[in-house]
Amino acid sequence: MLEVRLYLAQRASAAIMAPLVLIHLGVMIYAIQGGIDAAEILERTRGSLFWGANYGLFVIAVSIHAAIGLRNILREWLSLRGIRLAVISWIFFAGLLTAGLRAVAAVVLP
């Protein structure tokens, strides 16, 4: 059952990431037209529920997607199995999630 769940989780997270990446790129290209600096970016993102949800969701999706992908690579290239494979994958997931959410908090929290 685990393989099916991971398969679905990886595809669902990819489906979430795709539109969020497009939003990110679109807004970035639009916003940078007249020149923009860090202070202006923070002015727009701080306290914004929309950008907090947008990038928070993106970080969660990336953490799930990348950890499952890394799990596949570890299993195929290093022949890791069982608890070691699970522990390394979970640590990678937790690391990505922590670093990503900290970054989101830094630009979104007032």
Binding site: M1, L2, E3, V4, R5, L6, Y7, L8, R75, E76, W77, R81, G82, I83, L85, A86
Partner: protein, 255 residues
């Protein structure tokens, strides 16, 4: 026995793998070119004229039995239907045993694991009727039958198995041929082991390991597409899971 040789043609420089899984090396032979010569003809010529100890496997010589597959210039091929002039480069051939399988001797592989995986994936028909029941009526035009038909005609040559990088990385992986067979049976309306088979192919050695690289489809001599069959199994497993119809499955190394 002598064959007519192609005029003005140089002999073929053939490197042949000699040895077992424990070790070995290439041995060089020179073989005269002949009209309509196949790779199997080359190997047979070496055994009959140059080295009677060369081991290899073949049976039908017409592309039906699936026993003569070897690596030819790095690509898995059915050697009885592969013409020398189609694959030879600079008058040279390199012939090796199939990749991803243990070598018994020279060009003969041990096919046990390949066939055991067919059994593991329940790649056999399981009916629920007896001879006393009426014969099933199947429409050859039904969508399910068309899908099943597209996956048949496999000759068990293991070329797909040799071309698959996932098999190379994960020795437990059932492989393209076994999963392709499972897919054709899943679409056989008469088969009664669908739920059990689905739970096996959903396991950690099953369809989800496939990266859709399509090496199997590229090299299959019968132009089957095991990648498409495996994609079908993924869809079938996903639907069963979402409906809560996927029973617990046997897992070799749950992680």
């Amino acid at each position: 026995m002598s064959f007519p040789t192609e005029s003005n043609s140089l002999p073929i420089a053939v490197r042949v793998w000699r040895g077992t899984s424990a070790g070995g090396s290439f041995e060089q032979f020179e073989v005269p070119q002949q009209p309509s010569q196949t790779i199997l003809d080359v190997v047979t010529w070496i055994q009959r004229h140059l080295d009677a100890g060369l081991s290899y496997r073949f049976a039908c010589r017409v592309g039906m039995c699936g026993s003569c597959a070897m690596m030819v210039n790095g690509i898995p091929r059915w050697t009885c239907r592969t013409h020398v002039n189609k694959v030879m480069r600079d008058n040279q051939l390199t012939i090796e045993p199939l990749r991803n399988l243990p070598v018994i001797k020279d060009l003969a592989c041990d096919m046990s694991e390949f066939f055991e995986k067919w059994t593991d994936s329940k790649g056999y028909f399981q009916g629920s009727t007896t001879r006393h029941d009426p014969v099933s009526t199947l429409s050859p035009n039904s969508p399910q039958r068309r899908v099943a038909d597209a996956a048949t005609e496999c000759i068990n040559c293991a070329i797909c198995y040799a071309s698959c990088d996932v098999v190379n990385w994960n020795r437990d992986y059932l492989g393209p041929a076994a999963l392709n067979r499972a897919w054709s049976l899943q679409n056989d309306e008469r088969d009664s082991a669908s739920a059990e088979r689905l739970s096996v192919v959903a396991g950690d050695a099953g369809c989800h390991q496939c990266h859709s690289q399509q090496g199997c489809a590229t090299h299959c001599p019968n132009e089957l597409n095991p990648t498409a069959s495996i994609a079908g199994l993924k869809r079938m497993v996903t639907k069963a899971y979402l409906r809560g119809e996927l029973p617990g499955h046997g897992s070799k190394s749950d992680a």
